[in-house]
């Protein structure tokens, strides 16, 4: 028989639309509009999961996102299930496949439940006291056991193919929560003309209005009024309604993050729709209308399936047409549970008893219940339940002068409980608003706000539907006025019914049971009992934060919304200090768990970070180039031909460049145009080199330090005119260098008349290097004399190529060969490249990538910033004192170079290394020592910074930074490797053409 607990009528489910779903592989049926929880309850399924530590059977406790027990895994496709979803939030759809968690082999029979038998040992903090012997067992035995026992669901194993979206949005008033207070706030704020966003975590907006079947608003049944109100809001273009959307984070300066669940409730989602969407809201004003949460009672066996919060029972009956049991007992300290009992009774349910802790509950309520034929007991406490996988009976006790005597057993398969209501102050607390303890209510209420927010309705401690609506309307009008500056009266909304939640109890209830044997749970999910909290206090954990961490209470997926107040109260009693002196743990974001996908949004693959490609990129790709990532850029790494590996390709490319000519894409180099009458003076201060006397049309290598005196960047700088320089930077350093320059220019030398403009992408750069470089480019040059006398090494000209394409032609070299760099417009770069390429091919040349560039420059001993240097290296360290203008009074970093440890003996200096055997290639990063087998912890002399097989030298070469390196020329040192030390000789760091004769051909 299916849906045996379904009422005959009523509820907001669509009885004409049966929905089939599976739970642990069993086929069940519910109706459209059900949650998984309501559908399971309709089928009389209470046992839904197993607890975290003791693997105790657990049922459905709540009807909302705070559910600690009924956590399930939902699978759409193999490997991509979502663990730990609350059954109370999972909307039923055709074919939904849900599984229980943390059990093996089955929910009904779980081997892990042996932990429950061990529970006398597994108290709070037990693992800190044991598992220390034998030591080796921790990693191999104990920890794997603890890890496997813990954890709830199973992480997905397949890559998530779903899409996630993002939306930035601004509004005057953001309202978190669309219960009566939120709706009233939205109506008022919208009426005032404000831009409003109303978000609610549930599929349907309305909150309590969805199950306040007895209440009337503006003379209409609550749900009818709700329908009209929502229609009014939906029709307003300045209002955005976001159901299934949780305000999960409240950040600085009224920045609020919302998570919208877009497709999980659909049987067959449109593939274009994202699964979830992150809304990042900057709100002028916020109204928090988050409602309140009913508090469990802490009594022995209060975690058995069938034990449920009273209001949840009422919601299942009124909203979903489900009776939570065949025979239902009610234990309460709060008036609202009477309404639950009466509504369930009216829906055809059988109420076995209402056990009220209070001596004198509201007489009218008691009378109403008794009139309905319900047995009501006062001064009556629930002291336990019978049954293991399902409540079979309820033990009652009589409270008299603080002690309890047994008062019999009631047959029941369901127990509804209410310890009163906890205002939901999470978001207010996240916004760093203060909380104040209200002794009368036994609750923390929102105090002064720090940000532009206010709480309204029951989360602010306002009770009863009429008052809540009025408070919401007030908050909405107030928020709108503060956001827009325009005043508008709050909407007046009259209501009847929807009683206030009067009455509460906190902490562990007294009982007549054997205290050593029974357990009353405070934090259900983390299996924290009242005894655990007391134990923590006994052991000296007196701060509530210590108690939380020691017992893990409040650290479960509901973040303590159900458990905090009871835990606090128990701690308060144990410490004999009033609750507000014990404190309260901080509410952190997210309000409810939010998927990583929602946070990552669209960021993935090529959209994770921009992929910057040069205008030559596609050509290189077409030639089969391999690429490397440098900063955001893709750079051609090498151009393998006919199955070459990198080593062979690079060797060929190197030889070709030195023998004829090579073509290299240098477009990624950073470029900055420095313009203004003080341009030379500015560069003089920024670089170590002198610039004032560099003539127009000349190039100079520039070295840049940070203020600490360490090399931060380098590049060739060309003077285009008296007041105009073309500065180049390293590829990765370009943004950093421009920011560095701007910083000094704007904040230290604002009087200098000079301006900086990034031109990195204004110019594509084609480097042509090799003895035949001039031959390769000559045919395409329009109007520049390439003769060495007219254009010597380290000079430049502006002109044109290929019949009118503008070109800044630099004669320079990073290879030691004669060379040119053609700066041309990116839109024409491919044409120019291909034209040069045609010539290069004719000359037997090749294209080369960054690896060959690195080898060629290493052969010449040119440094690469970031490879020879590492942020701790001075110009002198790399033998570049020549780049420092000796007559300069100051430049950035100059003073630091005079600090004691920057001029001390023993600094590491750039040298060349040759392996003694002439064939072994050193590994970059390898360490260099005096001894072949140094004693452990002997400091190394230095390390290999660059190492390549040099075709020009006919052997492997290396550059290295070695302590006092320049004084060690000719010394024999060692590079200890795991296989044995390699003997090396210290040599000057120039391996090819030390005189530089090849530059001037």
């Amino acid at each position: 028989m299916t849906q045996i607990r379904r009422t005959r009528s009523g509820g907001r489910i669509d009885r004409s639309q049966p929905v089939r779903f599976t739970f642990d592989g069993r086929e069940l049926t519910g109706f459209a509009g059900d949650t998984l929880a309501s559908a399971l309850l309709a089928n009389d399924e209470h046992l839904v999961g197993r607890s975290f530590k003791y693997h105790r059977p657990r049922g459905i406790l709540t009807a909302g996102s705070e559910e600690p027990n009924a956590l399930v895994g939902v699978t759409r496709s193999p490997g991509s299930g979502t663990p730990n979803l609350r059954a109370t939030q999972v909307e039923l759809h055709e074919g939904l496949s849900a599984r229980s968690q943390n059990r093996f082999p089955s929910l009904g029979f779980d081997i892990g439940a042996v932990n429950d038998l061990m529970s006398p040992l597994f108290v709070a903090g037990f693992y800190y006291k044991t598992f220390m012997w034998p030591k080796s067992f921790w990693n191999r035995v104990y920890e794997p056991f603890i890890r496997a026992a813990a954890g709830l669901g199973t992480a997905p194993t397949a890559p998530d193919r779903d899409r996630y979206a993002n939306r930035y949005v601004h509004c005057d008033v953001l309202i978190a929560g669309a219960g009566p207070a939120g709706i009233a706030a939205a109506l008022s704020a919208a009426e005032a003309g404000a831009r409003v966003i109303l978000a609610d975590e549930q599929a349907e907006m309305g909150g309590a209005l969805l199950h306040e079947t007895g209440a009337t608003v503006e003379g209409q049944p609550a749900d009818r009024w709700l329908e009209a109100a929502l229609a009014e809001l939906a029709a307003n273009p300045r209002v955005t309604l976001l159901p299934r959307t949780t305000a999960f984070g409240y950040f600085n300066h009224n920045y609020i993050a919302l998570g919208e669940r877009v497709t999980d409730h659909l049987a067959v989602p449109d593939p274009d729709l994202p699964r979830e969407r992150l809304w990042q809201v900057r709100a002028r004003q916020v109204v928090i209308a988050a409602g309140s949460i009913e508090r469990p009672l802490v009594f022995p066996e209060n975690d058995r399936p069938g034990v449920m919060l009273a209001e949840a029972g009422r919601i299942y009956a009124n909203r979903y047409g489900v009776l939570p049991g065949r025979s239902i007992a009610v234990a309460t300290a709060c008036d609202t549970a009477y309404r639950a009992a009466l509504d369930i009774h009216a829906a055809g349910g059988s109420i076995a008893v209402i056990a009220d802790l209070r001596e004198r509950p509201d007489e009218a309520l008691v009378a109403e219940a008794r009139a309905a034929g319900i047995r009501v007991e006062t001064s009556c406490v629930v002291t336990g339940v019978l049954g293991r996988k399902r409540v079979r009976g309820v033990l009652l006790g009589r409270l008299r002068a603080g002690s309890v005597t047994a008062a019999g057993t009631v047959n029941a398969d369901c127990l509804l409980m209410s310890g009163g209501w906890t205002p939901n102050v999470s978001l207010h607390s996240q916004s760093r608003g203060k909380l104040v303890w209200d002794e009368e209510r036994g609750a923390y209420l929102p105090g002064d706000a720090v940000q532009a927010e206010r709480s309204a309705g029951s989360c602010a401690g306002v009770d009863g539907l009429a008052a809540v609506l009025a408070d919401g309307a007030r908050a909405g009008a107030e928020a709108a006025r503060e956001a827009t500056g325009k005043a508008h009266a709050p909407r007046e909304i009259l209501a009847e019914g929807g009683e206030a939640g009067i009455g509460w109890v906190l902490g562990a209830l007294p009982h007549d049971r054997d205290a050593a044997r029974v357990r009353a749970f405070v934090d259900y999910q983390n299996d924290v009992t009242a005894k655990d909290v007391k134990l923590a206090v006994r052991e000296g954990m007196h701060s509530i934060e210590h108690i939380k961490r020691y017992t893990t209470t409040g650290m479960a997926t509901d973040q303590g919304r159900l458990s905090n107040m009871n835990a606090l109260s128990i701690a308060s009693t144990a410490l004999d200090r009033p609750v507000p002196e014990v404190g309260l743990t901080t509410f952190r974001q997210p309000y409810t768990p939010v998927s990583f996908g929602t946070l990552a949004t669209t960021s993935r693959g090529d959209l994770f970070d921009p992929v910057r490609k040069t205008p030559i990129h596609d050509w290189a790709a077409g030639q089969g180039a391999a690429f490397e990532d440098v900063g955001l850029w893709k750079r051609a790494w090498y151009f393998p031909r006919g199955g070459e590996d990198m080593h062979r390709a690079v060797e060929r490319e190197c030889r070709t460049v030195r023998e004829s000519v090579g073509l290299f894409d240098a477009s990624t180099l950073g470029k900055i145009e420095v313009v203004g009458p003080d341009a030379a003076e500015f560069l003089n201060r920024i670089y170590t080199n002198p610039w004032l006397k560099l003539g127009p049309g000349r190039l100079r290598y520039g070295l840049m330090l940070n203020e600490a005196g360490f090399i931060m960047d380098d590049g060739v700088v060309g003077r285009l005119a008296e007041d105009r320089f073309h500065v180049t930077t390293t590829t990765g350093g370009a943004p950093r260098v421009l920011a560095h320059m701007e910083d000094y220019l704007q904040t230290e030398w604002p009087d200098l008349k000079v301006w900086l403009t990034s031109t990195t992408e204004q110019w594509a750069v084609i480097a042509v290097q090799g003895p035949k470089a001039r031959e390769a480019i000559a045919p395409i040059i329009d109007d520049i004399d390439l003769a060495t006398e007219a254009l010597p090494h380290m000079s430049m000209r502006e002109g044109h190529v290929m019949g009118g394409i503008p070109c800044r032609l630099f004669r320079m070299s990073f290879t030691g060969e004669a060379g040119y760099e053609l700066n041309v417009p990116p839109s024409r770069a491919r044409e120019v490249w291909e034209a040069v390429w045609a010539n290069v091919e004719k000359l037997g040349g090749c294209a080369y990538g960054t690896e060959t560039m690195h080898v060629l420059r290493a052969e010449k001993g040119y440094i690469i910033v970031g490879q020879e240097t590492d942020g701790t290296v001075t110009p002198d360290d790399v033998g570049m004192s020549w780049a420092i203008g000796k007559k300069k009074r100051d430049f950035v970093g100059m003073r630091s170079l005079a600090r004691p440890d920057l001029v001390a003996e023993g600094r590491k200096q750039l040298v060349g290394l040759l392996t003694r055997d002439g064939t072994t290639l050193l590994e970059e990063g390898a360490q260099i020592t005096r001894e072949a087998v140094p004693a452990l912890k002997t400091p190394a002399l230095g390390h290999v910074t660059s190492s390549y097989v040099s075709p020009a030298a006919g052997r492997p070469i290396a550059l290295a930074m070695i302590a006092d390196g320049r004084a060690r020329m000719g010394e024999t040192l060692h590079v200890p490797m795991p296989e044995g030390a390699i003997t090396v000789e210290v040599v000057p760091p120039v391996f090819v053409d030390p005189e530089g004769a090849r530059l001037n051909v």
Binding site: Y255, E539, G540, P590, P593, T731, G732
Partner: protein, 417 residues
């Protein structure tokens, strides 16, 4: 004081655990102490513990303005490793690593140090150069660290995406097998209990409001919310609040305090065997014994003592995690929190004497202090007890910012070309 063991646990279980006592006392402050440690975080408590145990200095108070272990000790991602580059750092962190090995037994408190391996991913050619340099340097120093190919990295951490379809494909990794994680709270509690057993007074809810000095300039004691407490020596171990405390003694520090965020997912069954770090895409992840994925995010760019950071820091971290572990998109963030880290210009700590006689400071651990806790406390105790730094912390002076002898791990990983 009760010795913790399985048998003790079993014995106490017979009496429903009624017989456990305080893990540490709640003493009233004495008028004066030989040494006052300001800050009852892991480093401060460890300092007190080793002062008492190794140097016989037991007339010690540890003052804490909140609750012990409530600062960065209880807010970090619990990573333990020692594969740093520079010899000074290697020595410091590996000293800590040595102490981690037996810390549970030493303290008779299971700190759950779990040597599950810390793997640092290389995504670029430059990363490879940097990590290999680390591996070689570490080998000479006796610090465990090894290079893995991308395939070996995947074998060690099966969820890792080593496909070429990601923005920065994994090219390899450096692995320190004995690196791992430990239970952060237990470290603070274990040291607190240990120090307490030696007679150290741990005084919580006692905020230091001033540092009193003698006529000769030396330290006389501290003003606190519970009155003046005299001391011959004062050690400041106040993490993010160091500048504020040192300011009370008139000492300016080269520090900036930034928010640092971390987060955990909902708990799931074991699915992630090790610690993975990627500096290039900014992701740090491991799985706790509870089953939560523990993820370290970055620092906000500005100085703040608010212990809250921006959403953009979280999203930036989580997108990196999803890029490397694409199956985790459906995992959910359970809790996100912030701490305050004090950062020095070279990102290395300052441990040693100050210009004020009798005043010592241990600070500037930035985002990486947890792993050093035992070593930091050990050498700082030595420094305080003997008025002279331990050889291991000797290079970590305040004076290095004058002389330029920086210990810059971050610079060593700088990217350019």
């Amino acid at each position: 004081m009760t010795r913790f063991s399985f048998w003790e646990l079993a014995r106490k279980a017979l009496n429903a655990h009624q017989d456990w006592g305080d893990q540490w006392r709640k003493p009233e402050p004495k008028p004066a102490y030989d040494v006052i440690i300001i800050g009852a975080g892991g480093h401060g408590l460890a300092t007190a513990y080793y002062l008492a145990k190794e140097h016989g200095v037991t007339n010690v108070a540890v003052l804490e303005k909140g609750w012990l272990g409530g600062g960065n000790t209880g807010r970090n991602t619990t990573i333990v490793r020692s594969n740093y580059l520079w010899e000074e750092s290697e020595a410091l962190y590996d000293h800590a690593m040595d102490l981690w090995q037996d810390l549970s037994q030493e303290l008779n408190y299971n700190v759950m140090y779990s040597a599950r391996g810390v793997m640092m991913l290389a995504h670029t050619v430059h990363d490879i150069q940097v990590f290999k340099r680390h591996v070689h340097a570490n080998r000479l120093a006796g610090v465990q660290n090894e290079w893995l190919s991308a395939e070996e990295a995947k074998a060690f951490c099966p969820p890792l995406n080593i496909g070429k379809n990601i923005r920065y494909p994994v090219l390899g990794a450096a692995l320190q097998r004995k690196g791992g994680v430990a239970r952060h709270d237990a470290v603070a509690w274990g040291y607190a209990r240990g120090a307490d057993q030696y007679g150290v007074d741990i005084i919580q809810n006692c905020a230091v409001t001033g540092i009193r000095r003698n006529a000769d300039g030396s330290v006389a004691g501290v003003e606190t919310s519970r009155g003046f407490i005299g001391a011959k020596k004062v050690g400041v171990v106040a993490a993010g609040h160091t500048s504020t405390v040192m300011d009370m003694a008139g000492v300016r520090m080269p520090l900036e305090s930034n928010p640092l965020q971390a987060l955990v997912s909902e708990p799931v069954k074991p699915c992630f065997p090790c610690v993975v770090m990627s500096n290039t895409v900014h992701a740090y992840v491991s799985q706790s014994d509870k089953g939560e994925l523990v993820i370290g995010a970055g620092t906000d760019q500005y100085v703040s003592y608010s212990q809250t950071g921006g959403l953009q820091i979280t999203t930036h971290t989580v997108d990196a995690i999803c890029e490397l572990f694409p199956m985790f998109r459906r995992m959910r963030m359970l809790r996100n929190w912030g701490g305050i880290v004090d950062v020095t210009p070279d990102r290395s700590p300052i441990i040693g004497k100050t210009p004020v006689p009798g005043l010592f400071v241990n600070c500037g651990w930035g985002t990486g202090g947890f792993k050093a806790t035992p070593g930091s406390g050990h050498v700082f105790a030595h420094t305080i007890a003997r008025d002279d730094p331990h050889p291991i912390n000797a290079p970590f002076t305040l004076d290095r910012f004058r002389t330029g002898r920086l210990i810059d791990e971050a610079a060593a990983a700088a990217v350019a070309h």
